[in-house]
């Protein structure tokens, strides 16, 4: 059975820097997969090439068996792959509701949009539904730029859901968020998965990853180090090495275990 999403020997360099050096892994439909790795291992770059914000130098990316390697962000979006951004990218000067409405017009003919009101009643309803789902419905008429960081993360989650994508790539959904909010986010993500969506999560927060994800892929220096269940990965010495740079073995094991415990 082909996996839903396949990344095949992808390479990408920026100038002299090898961000991705032959990364290969796959994601099964309906799963929640995690992508972890030390800083600079290429996680966000991988997301960028998967969603068309950057182009690979070589390698292939397949969605349901069809190659999407050269697709731009709009095509990737149209195919049903959504993503959030690590540093939230929202439309700061528009209200929260307007932000949501921008995302609702995936299937619109572009010329018709001139004669359409900003949001039809059903679209507004759906937007509010999603805002309630993530928990920020009360902020709908505020300019999005006024939201706190955590609230922005929730907004990002809401509008990646608007277009009802099949696959959602979450880039550090818990990054910089108030600990009390993190459980809420984990909960919402589980809920989304229960609705049948496939999720790929990039995260630094190990507890988050261990709690939430079924399969963990570890990236190091642009290459996949290993893939496995959270427990398998946690106890893999190579993974500890990757995070710590591997000098003194014993100390590394203790410290590394501590790092992965947090």
């Amino acid at each position: 059975m082909t996996a839903l999403l396949e990344i095949d020997d992808v390479k990408k360099s920026f100038g002299g820097l090898r961000a991705l050096d032959g990364a290969t892994f796959s994601v099964e439909e309906g799963s929640i997969a995690a992508l972890i790795g030390p800083n600079g291992s290429g996680k966000t770059t991988l997301f960028n090439v998967m969603t068309g914000y950057a182009q690979v130098d070589s390698g292939d990316i397949r969605f349901r068996g069809r190659s999407i390697t050269s697709a731009g962000p709009d095509r990737v979006f149209a195919l049903g792959i959504g993503r959030t951004f690590q540093l939230t990218r929202i439309f700061a000067r528009m209200t929260v509701l307007e932000n949501m409405l921008v995302a609702t017009q995936r299937h619109e003919g572009w010329l018709r949009s001139v004669f359409r009101a900003a949001g039809s009643p059903s679209e507004r309803e759906r937007a509010f539904e999603l805002l309630e789902f993530v928990g920020i419905a009360g902020l709908s008429s505020l300019p999005a730029g006024n939201l706190s960081y955590g609230q922005r993360k929730l907004l990002e989650l809401a509008y990646v859901l608007v277009a009802d994508p099949e696959v959602i790539l979450l880039d550090e959904p818990a990054g910089g968020v108030n600990p009390s909010l993190i459980n809420h986010i984990i909960d919402r993500i589980r809920e989304v998965n229960r609705a049948g969506k496939t999720l790929i999560v990039v995260e630094h927060d190990m507890q988050f990853v261990m709690d939430l994800c079924e399969r963990v892929t570890v990236l190091d220096q642009g290459r996949v180090l290993t893939t496995g269940s959270p427990d398998e990965v946690r106890s893999n010495p190579a993974v500890l090495d990757a995070y710590l740079g591997g000098d003194d073995e014993e100390e590394d094991d203790e410290v590394g275990a501590a790092v992965l415990e947090t």
């Binding site: 068309g52 914000y53 962000p73 709009d74 990218r89 439309f91 700061a92 995936r106 010329l111 001139v114």
Partner: protein, 339 residues
């Protein structure tokens, strides 16, 4: 009880419309109506410009291309059709608009491929290309320019007719701008302004949206140019294609409030009246260059959001004050004791 914003808006609109229609009847002095005419021309151009640049964030400094093309289109058209002065020439005004719109397509296709800052530069470059062409092509009469037919109307009647034609175009332009702003199309433009790549990633067809807005903004500008040319009776390349025109409408839009609906109208009203008064009372000279430059700097650096947004963000505060005063009026004798 403070009325809702929409109610206020509609009321304001009706009042403005009444003033617009009644003005030349109340003030029929030709000098005044001439100034009013020019104000209307700039209101049209600024509103149209703002509908594109204000909403998308792409600052175009080449709209004089549309203004000048519209002007020349009318002049050339009147000549080829052997029109003599009168109402018939006004029929060419929509043609001016169409010509400008047609020019906007290749212009936009070329210019909108670039990033925001190179976009500005490319609009400037294309503007100068057009100015050069106007100076050197035969059909445009070169540096001696072209003439437009002279209608045989009285001074008062002349101005009134032109005023109402311009007013009609203004109403249409404002309606267009309003329609764009409150439609899904407007939302897409605003999204492009705030984060174009993200908008694209969410499915907005950014290139088409930008091009459509660009062309839409060109049409009223072209019509304004046509009416302007007919009013003056004569056009020269350096005035039909005047870099100061571009700076002026940008300044007016910034002054009033980029991206708002009333901002361009306010900006054109204030700044164009000022400029006209200026040229009447002082010899035109170079003084107004200095004033424009200085004014632009002041507006951009000190009032970056423009007058209308600054005022409307004060409005909630003012309402708060009113509410507070209404709730707790201080007893008269206590106020006297607290020295």
């Amino acid at each position: 009880m403070i009325p809702s914003r929409t109610a206020l808006g509609v009321l304001g609109g009706l009042v403005a419309l009444a003033i617009l229609v009644g003005f030349p009847l109340a003030f029929s002095n030709p000098t005044t109506t001439t100034i009013a005419f020019f104000v209307l021309i700039f209101m049209i151009a600024t509103t149209a410009w703002n509908a594109f640049s204000g909403l998308s964030g792409y600052i175009a400094l080449g709209h004089a291309v549309f203004f000048g093309s519209g002007a020349y289109a009318l002049a050339i058209g009147a000549e080829k059709l052997h029109l003599s002065g009168g109402w018939s020439v006004f029929a060419l005004v929509p043609v001016s608009g169409v010509v400008a719109g047609v020019i906007a397509v290749p212009f936009g296709l070329v210019a909108l491929r670039t990033r925001r800052h190179t976009f500005v530069v490319i609009t400037i470059a294309i503007f100068f290309i057009f100015q050069l062409l106007a100076f050197n092509l035969g059909i445009t009469g070169g540096s001696s320019g072209l003439q437009t037919p002279t209608p045989l109307w009285t001074a008062v009647g002349y101005n009134q007719r032109f005023y109402y034609v311009a007013a009609a175009i203004l109403v249409l332009t404002v309606a267009m701008a309003c329609g764009i702003r409150y439609s899904r199309f407007g939302l897409q433009l605003l999204a492009i302004r705030d984060d174009e790549d993200r908008a694209r990633g969410l499915g907005v067809r950014t290139r088409r949206v930008k091009l459509l807005a660009f062309v839409a903004s060109a049409i009223p500008t072209g019509m304004a140019g046509g009416v302007y040319a007919y009013f003056l009776g004569q056009i020269f390349p350096q005035f039909a294609f005047d870099p100061l025109f571009d700076i002026s409408i940008a300044l007016m839009a910034f002054f009033g409030g980029l991206g708002t609906l009333t901002g361009p109208l306010l900006g054109a009203l204030v700044l164009e009246s000022l400029q006209q008064e200026f040229t009447l009372n002082f010899s035109a000279g170079s003084l107004y260059l200095i004033v424009y430059g200085a004014l632009f700097l002041v507006v951009i650096l000190l009032l970056p959001r423009g007058v209308v947004p600054t005022l409307s963000s004060l409005a909630p505060r003012v309402r708060e004050q009113i509410r507070r005063r209404a709730e707790v009026p201080p007893p008269p004798d206590q106020a006297r004791d607290v020295a």
